[in-house]
């Protein structure tokens, strides 16, 4: 289970200071603004954040899936076992995307080709990356469908996507993503389009495959329930930055950033029958055409101080492996962290939320 993160598990993927921009008619969008993280073998890193915070762009740039133009990776490195892989190709010219790193997407219906059978689509991966013959690849495709717990896999392999339910399509996507035995599986909102019962089955499947193959998973989601269930480590993303990173327990039980606290307070929990009030986060995320000069969360933060307006907070270590970008953790800050959860909103002039 994911009780304690093994920090000694080998680092597979090391991303440092990733910056991605998009040119649009309205100007340049600074979608990812200096993101760093490590992915460990056999572990799950969850990147959690709201729509538009840059979590998908982060992993797409590692996979070389950013369309360019308009997208540009303007800074940073991504190393898979020490080899630079920006653009989905290692420095040696080896294609990483689809072989060493597999990916599944939110909407399996639109991610699959409606004019090809499921079996052929899975087989294609093997033909391209492994040079298998069609019949060889198709045989393996049926085995992969069986691994992802699809009943009657050989009959199903001959069917088209429209004949599959949403849950089965996501299973087929997973079969395709793990076809080449990737060491990392990127799952971009894999269960958002599914019912909770099917979500639960798919998450179980991902867990099993992870354990069997010592595969690392980068899980992108907005659902803290899914994070709690799956993650060893968590990165909380907001406006293109990681505001807090740590183990799942760090993030849930010693949240150190006001945004993390806010997200948790905005969701109902079912610990007992008492009714806690939901605390929405007022306002909306900043405009990434012109990111705020200071803390990205300044405009919505109930604890904002003058320092937060113009000075971007650096990462403060608040525990072993637990980092947060928030001035409240500066040694000279008079406010205590324990107050985070209770402090009333401090009015600060000149904020436009």
């Amino acid at each position: 289970m994911n009780a304690v993160t093994d920090r000694f598990a080998p680092v597979l993927l090391d991303v440092q200071d990733l910056e991605v921009e998009f040119d649009t008619y309205g100007g340049t969008v600074h979608a990812v603004r200096g993101v760093s993280f490590e992915v460990h073998a056999g572990k799950t890193l969850a990147i959690v954040g709201e729509s538009g915070c840059g979590k998908s762009v982060t992993v797409q740039s590692i996979m070389g899936l950013i369309p360019s133009p308009p997208g540009r990776i303007v800074g940073g490195t991504a190393k898979l076992r020490g080899k630079e892989i920006i653009d989905g190709v290692t420095t040696d010219g080896e294609i990483v995307r689809g072989s060493q790193i597999g990916m599944i997407f939110q909407d399996p219906m639109t991610s699959l080709n409606p004019t090809m059978t499921i079996g052929d689509q899975i087989a294609e991966t093997l033909q391209v990356h492994r040079g298998f013959s069609h019949s060889q690849a198709l045989r393996l495709a049926v085995e992969l469908l069986e691994m992802t717990r699809i009943n009657e896999p050989s009959r199903r392999a001959r069917q088209y996507p429209f004949e599959f339910s949403g849950g089965m399509l996501q299973r087929s996507m997973i079969a395709m993503a793990i076809a080449c035995g990737p060491s990392i599986l990127i799952a971009d909102e894999p269960t958002t389009a599914l019912d909770v019962t099917i979500q639960s089955q798919i998450l179980d499947l991902l867990r099993d495959l992870q354990r069997e193959n010592n595969m690392a998973i980068i899980l992108i989601t907005h659902d803290l329930g899914v994070v709690a269930r799956m993650a060893d480590e968590v990165a909380v993303m907001y406006a293109g930055e990681f505001l807090e990173t740590g183990t799942a327990d760090d993030i849930f039980y010693s949240s150190a950033h006001p945004y993390t606290v806010g997200l948790r307070a905005a969701m109902p929990t079912n610990r007992d029958e008492s009714e806690q009030d939901l605390m929405p986060i007022d306002g909306s995320p900043p405009d990434l055409f012109a990111p705020p000069p200071g803390c990205a969360y300044f405009a919505r933060c109930p604890h904002a101080m003058e320092a937060c307006r113009n000075d971007p907070p650096p990462g403060f270590a608040v525990g072993s492996g637990h980092m947060t970008r928030c001035w409240l953790h500066h040694a000279d800050c008079s406010r205590r962290i324990d107050d985070l959860h209770y402090a009333a909103a401090a009015p600060l002039e000149g904020r436009d939320a």
Partner: protein, 323 residues
């Protein structure tokens, strides 16, 4: 007390031709009292939205009836019926993107009901629209803008203003928050809660997020494949589910708490919701149920009150042969 709205044996089938029928809603009876919020949960394809739409007359009823304050509503709505009931019953839709006409300004969208159903002057309509936009946390100046200029949460507020500007008594909220981000969901839920208090609204709250339904609603109704299988006080249904399906549904609801999730076993629920075409008699959940008995395959269980030894829960209804 007469319930505000009451469905009796409400049924909605869709014919597919060639003797195939989709049993979207089958014999559902449910009443909602004044100022009550009933949450309706179930997997996609369970008939939740169809039930909501049939209740409002947006879809014709195949069988059964709906009574509103004791008055039986027509089986099929004509233009006059909509004219009459638009003032008392409204709907808030799931998708804040496709449910707003992109070619109309927000002022036109929110004011359309008043223009069609009341004799208010243009200026009065504009004033009310402005009031309502502010009431839902937008700005009267937003009236001149088009839907694409708003975020998902703001659009959902526009949809709420459009429904509530008619001062309805009864509102069907069809997944009003599932397209929204977590922080915005709380904004919309709190807004609905405030408006419910200030306007004395009665609501059917359709959603698949069990935690949110428990939080929002007084009673919770669980649907599976077109039939109502469990109904009771929200906290009781959530914390002490009785129907095997409800137990599995609650069991697969993710909690934002790593310790709880670590203690959770594997998913008990197998398989997927079957096709609602040409349903055979017997319990609809029989083929996925871990506690299935012989009787389940042949006889359809009726929704009935379950004798509670302590008499604490007179209202719990369950459709299962185990009870």
């Amino acid at each position: 007390m007469t319930p505000l709205i009451e469905a009796e044996g409400l049924t909605k089938h869709f014919g597919l031709g060639r003797n195939q029928t989709v049993h979207a809603v089958d014999d559902v009876s449910l009443h909602i009292d004044q100022r009550e919020i009933v949450g309706l949960v179930g997997e996609s394809g369970s008939g939740k939205s169809t039930f909501g739409k049939t209740l409002l007359g947006l879809l014709d009823k195949t069988a059964g009836q709906v009574k509103y304050q004791g008055e039986t509503l027509p089986q099929s709505y004509g233009p006059g019926d909509f004219q009459r009931h638009a003032r008392t019953m409204q709907m808030i839709f799931q998708d804040p993107y496709s449910s707003l006409n992109p070619r109309m300004t927000v002022g036109e969208i929110v004011g359309e009901g008043l223009r069609l159903h009341t004799s208010l002057s243009g200026r009065e309509v504009r004033d009310r629209v402005g009031d309502w936009l502010e009431r839902v946390g937008l700005n009267a100046a937003h009236m001149a803008r088009y839907p694409h200029e708003f975020s998902g949460g703001q659009r959902q507020r526009i949809g709420i203003a459009r429904a509530l500007i008619m001062s309805p008594e009864f509102v069907v909220c069809d997944e009003p928050i599932s397209a929204l981000d977590v922080s915005v969901q709380a904004q919309v839920v709190n807004l609905l809660g405030e408006l419910k208090e200030s306007m004395g609204l009665t609501m059917l709250f359709i959603a698949h997020d069990l935690s949110m339904v428990r939080y929002v609603s007084d009673r919770m109704a669980v649907m599976y494949l077109g039939s109502l299988i469990e109904l009771g006080v929200s906290n009781n249904v959530f914390f002490h589910p009785k129907h095997p399906y409800t137990q599995m549904l609650v069991g697969s609801n993710p909690e934002p708490d790593p310790a709880t999730e670590r203690g959770r076993g594997r998913t008990a629920i197998r398989g997927e919701i079957p096709s609602p075409v040409n349903i055979q008699p017997g319990c609809r959940f029989a083929n996925r149920c871990p506690k299935v008995m012989d009787v389940c395959r042949g006889t359809t269980p009726e929704l009935k009150s379950v004798a509670d030894p302590e008499g604490k829960e007179p209202d719990r209804l369950i459709a299962c042969h185990l009870y």
